[in-house]
């Protein structure tokens, strides 16, 4: 191992290297890039949820002097688009009904926002006008928006050719016989848990600039996965891969919404090639809410069993998951990701998940921060509280009684949790929380007529996607490997440029990877530049998502750096007449152990490598540059314990989050400041879902919450401060010992908030509630009334005696 004996930079809360350009407005996002001669693109999108396209009249728009071209779904062949948009999951032995999905709809539209034409010409505003001069005649068809109704006989059918709205069925189970284990349980809690639809809503919407370039093409896109985009541009446009360059410039947040191969990317590239002009499209916020894939939208029927003493027996989740109108890159994969952690932190003897994917006339769903795992954790952690109530047992005692304590731990599913210390994070959480003080505050609140409650969530998540042999075609069924690459280049002067195949967009790896390299090469992070997001430089990469960038991409950086360090040691050993194994990196030098005065800086080593002389080792290549590819042996499983304290005003149903305390374990910190930042943002994402945010359609499939006005993305005034702490349990899967942290807060938090609200409302007789926990719904739950209507999966509330009060 070439880790520096005493890490100087790893572990330090360093300020980020990427910040000065961001703070001063000098960073370049996609809308800041406008090549000479660029034409604007505006999409004409369906106003109908489900309709036959009778006609599209483009003549008026085409007569405008400022319009260069209008294309519709009939032009795919003329534009040289060879195939429909990709869906990358082919689980062995499972039929997935995948309706062809082209960049522009042809013949039929299947959700509000489905693009039917693109108008291309001069001027950002003018093309908005021109798009309004394209007239589409629709013949409306019956639409279906409710996933459970969609599976019933007589439902409107989204894709007639299948004769059903069922997309697929997929199961994952293991351990003892499920039904027998449940039957032998003393208590079985059954709950219908609704996890409603949300938007990723990065503050920068998507955007694309496509530039034809001689025989090739450059596409600049606000994406998390530039290499995937390049691959599919090449395949769908019949271009040779090396002629296509994809650049992810500064990307203003992703949260999964930009883990996609989008129709707009393919179409702009094809149109730019056809028109031999640079083209630009910048998504409006309204478009984003309407057409950029949504997340969640599942109904789970959960059965959780236990013995009278609190020993857990079995968990079964029958999940109906809304795929929306089409399958995007990973759409049907998402609920399945949750199935892998359906055992939570607990020793269940039997674990079973059965998933049914369903088409509806709504925007497609796909990965949004957490992707399947927030849904799984929510149902587990909420049902743990429900079960504790049934048993009359303390909620935390029930959890502690069933925690895995020996690691690696194999669940009933055969999944092996790499590392853990669940009592450790919970102990630390309770030190911060102070139960006695809470009880006093609860009484004080009651004196003011307020209902105060606390909710806990003890979670583990699967991340660090992934071991390719597990996730790949013969395993889980993803049609890709999920390794990561790195290239570390030492320059003549000893400065370092490193390339990562990951594509960070706010997570801070320009800093953390520099810290990792700096320690291993005895240099300052200020002189280590991390490059990413350009397929024309560095090796193929898989991108940033699934909390994989550090656990997989960071380890690739470690391995490439170690190769450089090993070569440097050979060079130094040769020059100083020592053995390579006696050379260490200390005090900014490669020096002989025990003789720190005998050593060379990286600049001196690079000098020797760039001008090999008579002392150069026989047969050694000149230069100092190495590449590594890392495919881990297992996933990594971060974990933690969160507590949320809320106060409810029973007169209005309003929820105040009083405290949010999080103790997470993602292994040894590279930069604790950035870990805290990821946890804060992750929690906020879930506080948003739990309390405010909801993508809502009416029964006809019209989007009700299509702007930031009605979607209720929380502001600073809506959210609390967070108290964070960590424990550090190293993962054995990578040298850094790290596990992901980008999604942890999101995965843990909805259950903590929901359990807190239920805890607060329990004295008033409410025993269960689905999200979103809006004032209206809480007010109604307190009064046992319900008036909500709509075209999605509606949540429910329960009162004492399990009498179902609402639907």
């Amino acid at each position: 191992m070439s880790v520096a004996d005493q890490p100087k930079f790893v572990g330090q809360p360093m300020r980020r290297k990427e910040d000065p350009r961001l703070l001063t407005g000098r960073a370049r996002y996609v809308d800041d890039i406008t090549p000479q001669g660029t034409l604007w693109c505006t999409f004409v999108r369906s106003s109908e949820a489900h309709a036959r396209i009778v006609s599209i009249d483009t003549s008026l728009a085409e007569q405008r002097d400022d319009v260069m071209a209008v294309f519709t779904g009939e032009d795919m062949e003329a534009l040289g688009i060879l195939d429909a948009l990709p869906m990358a999951w082919v689980p062995p032995g499972v039929e997935v009904r995948n309706a062809p999905h082209w960049p522009l709809a042809s013949g039929e539209v299947n959700f509000v926002g489905d693009p039917v034409a693109v108008v291309i010409g001069e001027g950002r505003y003018a093309m908005q006008d021109a798009a309004e001069e394209v007239f589409v005649e629709y013949e409306p068809l019956p639409a279906v928006t409710d996933i459970e109704r969609a599976l019933q006989d007589g439902s409107a059918i989204v894709h007639e050719e299948f004769g059903t709205n069922e997309v697929h069925q997929w199961s994952l189970g293991g351990g003892e016989d499920l039904e027998a284990t449940l039957a032998a349980s003393d208590v079985v809690v059954e709950r219908r848990v609704v996890n409603h639809r949300i938007s990723g809503a990065p503050i920068e919407p998507r955007g694309v600039v496509a530039e034809p370039r001689g025989t090739g093409l450059t596409l600049t896109s606000s994406t998390q996965v530039p290499h995937f985009v390049r691959l599919f541009l090449a395949l769908l446009l019949g271009e040779s891969e090396e002629k296509v360059r994809v650049i992810a410039p500064e990307v203003g947040g992703g949260f999964g919404a930009k883990l996609q191969v989008c129709g707009e990317e393919i179409l702009l590239a094809a149109c730019a090639r056809k028109l031999t002009r640079p083209l630009k499209w910048i998504e409006t916020r309204s478009e984003h809410m309407m057409v950029t894939h949504h997340g969640r939208d599942q109904i789970a029927y959960v059965r959780m069993g236990a013995k009278r003493d609190g020993t857990l027996t079995a968990i079964h989740s029958r999940i109906v998951a809304d795929m929306g109108a089409y399958l995007m890159l990973l759409t049907p994969t998402i609920p399945a990701l949750g199935a892998f952690v359906m055992s939570g932190c607990y020793k269940f003897a039997a674990v079973q998940t059965d998933i049914t994917g369903v088409y509806t006339n709504k925007c497609p769903t796909d990965a949004i921060r957490g992707a399947g795992r927030p849904e799984a954790t929510h149902m587990i952690e909420v049902c743990m509280d429900q079960l504790a109530d049934e048993l009359g047992m303390d909620r935390l005692e029930l959890r502690r009684k069933n925690f895995f304590t020996e690691f690696p731990a194999e669940t009933a599913l055969g999944i092996v949790y790499d590392s853990g210390n669940y009592h450790g994070t919970l102990d630390k959480l309770l030190e911060h929380f102070d139960q006695a003080a809470f009880e006093q505050e609860k009484q004080d609140a009651a004196g003011r007529g307020r209902l105060r409650g606390v909710g806990f969530s003890t979670y583990t998540e699967i991340c660090g996607l992934a071991p390719s042999r597990v996730t790949g075609p013969q395993g889980f069924g993803l049609q890709t490997g999920l390794w990561e690459s790195a290239m570390v280049r030492v320059h003549f002067t000893g400065a370092v440029t490193a390339y990562t195949g990951a594509s960070p967009h706010g997570q801070g790896q320009e800093t953390t990877f520099a810290q990792v390299i700096a320690d291993r090469l005895g240099v300052d992070p200020a002189n280590v530049e991390i490059m990413h997001g350009d397929t024309a430089s560095g090796p193929h990469g898989l991108g940033t998502y699934g909390s994989r960038t550090t656990a997989v991409g960071g380890e690739a950086i470690v391995r490439a750096t170690n190769k450089v360090a090993d070569k440097a040691k050979q060079i130094v050993a040769n020059l100083l007449e020592a053995a390579p194994e006696d050379i260490e990196v200390a005090g900014g030098k490669f020096s002989v152990k025990g003789s720190p005065e005998k050593g060379m800086t990286l600049a001196e080593v690079a000098g020797a490598a760039f001008i090999p002389d008579e002392n150069w080792p026989e047969g050694m290549e000149p230069g100092l540059e190495e590449t590594a590819f890392f495919d881990p042996s297992n996933f990594v499983f971060p974990f933690g314990a969160h507590a949320c304290v809320v106060e409810v005003d029973p007169e209005t149903g309003d929820v105040d989050v009083i405290r949010y305390v999080a103790v997470d374990d993602c292994g040894p910190a590279i930069n604790p400041k950035l870990i805290d930042g990821q946890v804060h943002g992750g929690i906020a994402h879930s506080l948003g879902q739990a309390l405010y945010e909801r993508i809502h359609y009416d029964e006809e499939g019209q989007l009700i919450t299509g702007t930031f006005v009605d979607y209720c993305l929380p502001s600073a005034a809506d959210l609390p401060s967070y108290e964070t702490d960590r424990t550090e349990t190293p993962s054995p899967v990578n040298e850094l010992g790290v596990k992901g942290i980008g999604e942890a807060g999101t995965i843990a938090a909805t259950a903590a908030v929901t359990n807190a609200v239920i805890d607060a409302l329990r004295p008033a007789g409410v025993t269960y509630m689905d999200m979103p926990l809006t004032p209206n719904r809480i007010w109604e739950a307190l009064r046992g009334t319900h008036t909500e209507t709509g075209g999605g999966s509606s949540g429910e509330a329960r009162r004492d005696g399990d009498r179902r009060e609402t639907q």
């Binding site: 001063t24 503050i203 919407p205 502001s715 959210l719």
Partner: protein, 158 residues
Amino acid sequence: MPRASVSLEVNGTRYDREVEPRLLLVHLLRDELGLTGTHVGCDTSNCGACTCHVNGEAVKSCTLLAVQADGAQVTTIEGMGSEGDLHPLQEAFWDNHGLQCGYCTPGMIMASADLLARNPDPSEAEIREALAGNLCRCTGYHNIVKSVQAAAKVGVPS
């Protein structure tokens, strides 16, 4: 399309332009003057990514037509500080990890500067209320609030 004249001073430089009367100030700044640090994150004036200062007050530049800024003095993020010479708010956001993807950051800094000019020593609640018109999806606001508190502590030139 008729054109209208607009003359304004941005970050101390005078600009005279003939523009479409419907052109928004934010697009004048970005597309005509090349000041792309002012961002656009919504189309309903909710997100505040386009916040700049017009005659010394924070304004969402998507809520103003360019012609309404005729004769105005405008400050954008590019006028606040440069990489070697950061404004105390920029320095505080850097120190406190008050940004991640950076897209909302220029608007956050401009809104925060406006707050501190009006109220040099705001409480946490006052900061949260003052920034309610600026949305961030990365930070959960915790470190943004800390950044503004830190800047208030060292003092910000008005």
